[in-house]
Symmetry: C2
Subunit: 573 residues, 2 copies
């Protein structure tokens, strides 16, 4: 043994310290986070229930980084019997498709007691999210925000004094287990509408509701005091608003204040003004808000359900003008928000979102292929399912990325899924019989670097009354939003009206009731990528597809993603 | 490709068929079972909650086999995000220590979607159990019975006309997640006493309890109609009674009928008669019941809580004399059962259980070593825990069997756990300060083929009022029960009174309030074996130890048990 003097020890410590200082001032820094995932009793809306927390909180800590930084998150699974996985929503994972965090697609689940290290570059500034991508854990509270700032010296194409973030959500008192069991039962058992709406993890359930035990619901619990945002009069605030609802499409507004939309899913928007912002699960926006109203009072911040008949009360927060007391409720009645079943303004907002004139990414003129995806709810073997072109998605037992890379062709269906539906005869306004609907884990294999158009076509639900709004989220890419329409997409005429001038790029987009949405993306990110409805129960019931592209270009897979299904034993310590 | 004719196909099918016929008539047969594990809504006591089911049922199917048969159970984990493992309680797993089903000790957990094949020989006739051994899944309903009959031509040392089985249980309306979260919280949150007692999976919660939603509790649900056992007058019934309670010590009785105890944990008992049978979680008994009462009416079967102040209503079933209607409730009041805090009769029953005179396994005269295990409840780092000699048990991240066999010495503590406590100064009637209590995953390493005595020493609980009854269960062995006593075990005097003549062998035994229980076993089964309190929450809170013996004699481990902790990548497809 060599004896180490105290001076040597001190020098070593200083070196370690200097190393960290150096790392943190370098151009592209490492942003290091440790997440411990646990069940804890929480009362975000005054009602006590188990939530999945990150470091004791839901939402979890906000990941802060600068463009081109490397983010490292060590996720320790502290659950007793449940596995987990975390998806970094909006981060394209270029060169690191194995760290997308999508269980069954890009990795095996993280076992109880295990620590999994995610490491990826955040290559674009903007507002992103993270959340569980395993079972229905997201809606148990496992989510948070990622905020990527511009490199020093660069500036946004809009000015603001302060930067603030909130995540909107809906909240169930029943567990995700109960929901999932009901969804997968014959007869189908629907858990019902959410119990409350949360703003940055805070909401307010009416504890006086009959049948609610006082031991479970305490209206005076400080945990569920309304969320407030304190603002200084006469300033411009950049407010980053995102939604991770399990089910609900939302409208967000701040009483008496207009909002100028400037960012969507990490892309700059040609500014436009709204009174209320429609936002769908998986979307992120930045809006500018001027604190130009009477500063002697506070104002309501509200969220309300649209597109489904709302049975969930308004979500309420307080827009607190300094120095008024932040808990002083405005004397006014909160604005009720838009009518839930008026599709028109939602459609209009979607169409209004265009790329900022100085930040246009021009899409390729023509696609190499077009895939039409008819969205239907239907029965498959007596189970309620959601389907694309009559195929309801099922995650395989072995993650696609590993199966594809290692050519394990027996672990998922090798049949190509359908690229369209019977346009001429199909009536989207009538509940289909769909007697030939199937459940499958087949993937769409895209030729590398080709341009792909996706037409999302909506249809009627099985209740024979409504057509739901589905926010589709694409992993590993941004896509151009080329157009929205009503009724059936007409391949011959509607393509002519695609916006190829200044389409916004997004990673999540809504398909409106009885409407269609057209997207274009370039299959230039080697990997296996999920594309799915971001409504937790809809994906659980099969509303998704997987794209493979350039699998032969994917680098060596880290063994940490292995260990399940046919990849047992692939893990190398 | 060789073309196969239809005739060849038919011949092949016949051969397969003949193979199965052959297998099923051979001396030692293969008993093949398929278990699919799922969450389902069940209302065993009229209250609707999620239960873990096996092939749609809880309790699961009874495994029927004959001595020396090989039982194969393919367990398909159909849970969404949760792993599982199943323990075959009372089966010694001689030569197959890897199929004991104890997560963290003998195997990695079975992942969602995976199928795990258990294969073991049932080498002794008798009444055994199976149940989840992962987290607290057992109390979610994942359990059932194993019944091993004698080889053809052999007979039991007692006569009976019919053979019947029931499993007794207690039942919580809160999920095991909620319980576990409360147990592992600071401050400690106790879930409370069970909501009901079940007989063969059926009980009756009072749906009129204030605050219970009618949508959740339906007293007319046929699922919770009382369990009935139809009997023919004038016969002798062998009734196999076992307990898998999460918490409760029980008394079982059949109104107006005596019971003759003839079997305990698979061993023949020198018959004795009881009016009520005390039974602790993990125990199995056979009693003989004569249907010699007035046959014109039915009789109550009851279970009631003892040892803890009962806050759970009686469990009720109907002992139905044919041809009375099985649902006709007796007009009598159900017998209330013995007083909960009268320890004496429970102590007496324990002492009364001796080996049948023609089936005595004589224990070795002397032990090679004695381990005294002081059972205490105490605080460790502000957490409520249960401890043995001030060490509270914690399962390691890598299963012991694999770690020991592969000499992975870094995955659990290599310190020897204490083999006793400070006898002279310790007061079992006073809540200890236990400031030096620790949490550890160390194991007791036993020399192969040596004889080991275990003295379980009970003490006061932290409520400063009671001493609880702990049913200790040993995996991989039966032990001789050498004696019970009150107060502190005295190493000098109490050993002299050990019963070395006709001690019963068991796998589960109670240590009574403020008392001690002395066991002896031979460490002759190579493997790693859990020894723990069978109360689900007590083991979760650290009340257990692990014995290693003859690890070098353990055969090649099947790779199916690998894949977690440090054994990632050890699985070979």
């Amino acid at each position: 043994m060599i004896k180490v003097s105290s001076a040597q020890k001190l020098a070593a410590k200083l070196l370690v310290l200097l190393f960290f200082v150096f790392v943190s001032v370098a151009e592209a820094r490492i942003r290091y986070y440790k997440f411990e995932i646990k069940y804890e009793y929480k009362s975000p809306d005054c009602y006590k229930k188990l939530a999945i927390t990150i470091n004791g909180r839901t939402p979890g800590p906000t990941i802060l980084a600068q463009q081109n930084d490397t983010v490292i998150v060590e996720v320790k699974n502290g659950l007793l019997t449940e596995n987990t996985a975390i998806h970094w929503h909006g981060i394209r994972q270029i060169g690191t498709p194995w760290f997308d965090g999508t269980e069954g697609v890009t990795q095996c689940p993280i076992l109880p007691g295990d620590t999994f290290k995610y490491q990826f570059v955040v290559d674009r500034p903007g507002t992103y999210l993270y959340h569980a991508h395993y079972g229905m854990q997201r809606e148990e509270g496992l989510y948070g925000a990622i905020r990527v700032s511009l490199p020093d010296g660069q500036s946004e194409p809009f000015a603001y004094d302060y930067d603030r973030s909130i995540i909107l959500n809906d909240w169930y008192h029943k567990s995700a287990y109960e929901q999932a069991t009901g969804l997968a039962s014959v007869p189908f058992q629907w858990v019902g509408e959410p119990d409350s709406l949360l703003i940055q993890g805070k909401g307010r359930f009416n504890c006086s509701t009959p049948g609610i035990a006082s031991s479970l619901c305490n209206a005076t619990n400080p945990e569920c005091s309304p969320y407030f945002m304190t603002v200084v009069p006469g300033k411009t605030y950049r407010l980053r608003v995102s939604s991770l609802t399990a089910l609900s499409a939302l409208s967000f507004q701040i009483e008496g204040h207009n909002m100028t939309v400037v960012e969507a899913d990490g892309h700059y928007v040609e500014p436009f003004v709204v009174q209320n912002l429609f936002i769908y699960s998986g979307e992120t926006y930045s809006v500018l808000v001027k604190t130009d109203q009477n500063p002697s009072r506070n104002y309501w911040m509200t969220t309300n359900v649209v597109s489904r008949e709302p049975k969930t009360p308004l979500g309420l927060g307080i827009f607190n003008y300094y120095p008024n007391h932040p808990r002083r409720s405005p004397a006014t009645t909160p604005p009720p928000g838009p009518v839930w079943n008026d599709t028109e303004p939602r459609f209009e907002q979607s169409v209004a979102i265009k790329a900022h004139k100085d930040h246009i990414h021009t899409p390729p003129r023509m696609p190499h292929r077009t895939i039409v995806m008819l969205n239907t709810q239907n029965l498959v073997n007596e189970y309620y399912r959601w389907s694309v072109n009559n195929v309801s998605f099922n995650l395989p037992h072995t993650p696609y990325l590993i199966a594809l890379k290692k050519n394990l062709t027996h672990v998922f269906s090798q049949v190509s899924p359908p690229t369209g539906y019977n346009y001429s005869s199909y009536d989207i306004y009538t509940v289909p019989e769909n007697t030939n609907a199937t459940i499958s884990d087949a993937v769409y294999r895209l030729q590398f670097n080709t341009t792909v158009d996706i037409i999302l076509q909506n249809a009627i639900s099985m209740n024979n009354k409504t057509s739901e709004t589905h926010p589709w989220h694409l992993h590993g890419h941004d896509f151009w939003v080329l157009g929205y329409g009503k009724g059936k997409f007409d391949m011959y005429n509607d393509q002519k009206n695609f916006n190829l001038e200044n389409p916004i790029m997004k990673n999540t987009v809504a398909v409106h009731p009885y409407g269609w949405t057209a997207l274009r993306f370039v299959a230039d990110n080697p990997g296996a990528w999920l594309f799915h409805c971001h409504i937790e129960s809809h994906f659980f019931m099969g509303m998704g597809v997987v794209f493979e592209e350039g699998i032969e270009r994917v680098g060596k897979l880290p063994s940490s993603i292995m260990g399940c299904g046919e990849t047992k034993g692939f893990h190398k310590p």
